[in-house]
């Protein structure tokens, strides 16, 4: 059979971002994949040289607009560990609330894009319609739809008064109702199943070996979630990772769907347990030493390596984002599937290219 090389991307309608894959095909079957990156590479880790460690929060938020709060949270957590800062209890819970709201937003966004990948446009529109409520929450509580920017070193910047918290909960009730409504379509619809069941299988062993993270890992049956470490206030909340079994696109889809509901439940619990008190502590001194800190992003484990030298600029900031870890598993999923399924499989890892390349 003749081998053909098909360039996939960088500008492709299914992806909001430029991702480029060189697909080597035999007939319609993918044989080999070579990713080409660099279309979104900015080099923002180097900005630590020109911005001081407080200003870097804004940069970290802009590693990725979809999970900005969680990036900032991870960064602040790292710096706090370096400087030995204990943040107030209220701040820990508020961080969880915003992070989980963000997770709902990100998962709904992904569910929509995933539906779009197999041409289910009305489902895409529906998911994004629901998501707008979360954007409203972000805007009302944080002041910006995409980057609520609430994390600072030593706590959080904004408080949530009881009225606001109540309003957030009522909004989330509405969201939950509508998300529950989607279940019938997302998990049981014939078309959706036809396009996702058994596609892009990643076995448990492969997932571990290739270093998959997040829903991609849990979809293959591994019960691992960084939230289990209990950073921020997760240790005091009831949380159990959602796992799938089959490791195919459907099972990853299911994991994310259930996580959306779980995130809403977590917000509810966190609001009910929200302790009174200050929301931040004063920060004195400069970070020194090295630290590795991790949080769970909607897409999986996010790792920051921070090295400070006692000055106001950091020596080195290294960001390992979940999609970066999920690319090798993706490369192992693609061979053997049909060209028409490529977008579905690629989206099933929830790629975030601006994260990957930074």
């Amino acid at each position: 059979m003749a081998r053909t090389i098909i360039p996939f991307g960088p500008q492709h309608q299914v992806f909001p971002e430029p991702i480029h894959l060189k697909l080597v095909l035999e007939d319609e079957i993918v044989k080999e994949v070579v990713p080409a990156l660099g279309y979104v590479h900015r080099g923002l880790e180097m900005l630590a040289d020109v911005r001081d460690f407080h200003q870097m929060i804004q940069i970290c938020e802009r590693v990725c607009g979809i999970c900005s709060t969680i990036h900032a949270q991870c960064y602040c957590q790292g710096i706090e560990e370096l400087m030995g800062i204990e943040i107030p209890d209220r701040a820990r819970f508020l961080r969880v609330i915003w992070a989980e709201i963000h997770r709902v937003q990100s998962h709904l966004l992904w569910l929509g894009l995933f539906a779009d990948a197999f041409g289910f446009e009305s489902l895409f529109m529906q998911c994004w319609k629901i998501r707008e409520k979360i954007m409203d929450i972000n805007e009302a509580t944080g002041g910006n739809r995409v980057n609520p920017s609430i994390n600072i070193i030593g706590g959080v910047k904004r408080d949530m008064n009881p009225d606001m918290a109540q309003w957030v909960l009522t909004q989330l009730d509405l969201v939950e109702k509508e998300v529950n409504h989607l279940e019938k379509v997302l998990l049981n619809d014939y078309t959706v199943k036809k396009r996702t069941v058994g596609k892009g299988v990643l076995t448990r062993e492969k997932a571990m070996e290739l270093g998959a993270v997040g829903p991609t890992l849990r979809g293959s049956g591994v019960e691992q979630d960084i939230r289990q470490i209990g950073y921020a206030a997760y240790g005091e909340l009831a949380h159990r990772p959602v796992v799938g079994i089959d490791g195919d696109a459907y099972s990853r889809n299911r994991v994310r769907f259930l996580e959306t509901l779980q995130a809403i439940a977590l917000v509810r619990e966190a609001v009910s347990k929200l302790p009174a008190g200050d929301i931040s502590v004063k920060v004195k001194g400069k970070p020194e030493g090295e630290v590795v800190t991790r949080v769970e992003q909607p897409r999986g484990e996010l790792m920051y390596y921070i090295k400070g030298n006692g000055g106001k600029n950091l020596d080195r900031l290294r960001i390992r984002t979940p999609t970066f870890a999920n690319i090798p598993p993706l490369l192992s999923m693609l061979p053997g599937i049909e060209l028409a399924d490529v977008p579905v499989i690629v989206l099933s890892i929830d790629p975030c290219i601006s994260c990957t390349e930074r």
Binding site: M208, L210, V292, P328
Partner: protein, 125 residues
Amino acid sequence: MKEVISTTKGTVVSKTVDMKKDGYRFVTMSCVELDADTVDILYHFDRDLHLKHLRLTIQKKEAVPSVSLVYFAAFLVENEIQDQFGIRFDGLVLDYERTLYLEKEAPDAPYCRISVSRDVKSGED
């Protein structure tokens, strides 16, 4: 960072193999510039939410043995380090020849602030 094990160029691959045998997941590698000639390469591993690190201190001009044959997932980050620091990895399974992120017009080895590496980008000159 609590558990850091130092390695040398000769033992890094065998130590990584040990990690894999013990069931560790490869998280990533970080490269940190120490001074004009040396860099630290940190290998991060995770098992059941517990982190372990290997530290390898090398000269910038030296080539580092690649661990991408042990953990395939390492190929991306090794290519990234090649781009950003101009350090060479020997035996990469998929070598982008230092063009993973950067085009020729972009600065060479931008992460080396103290001295620019002598290693010329392949394809040039």
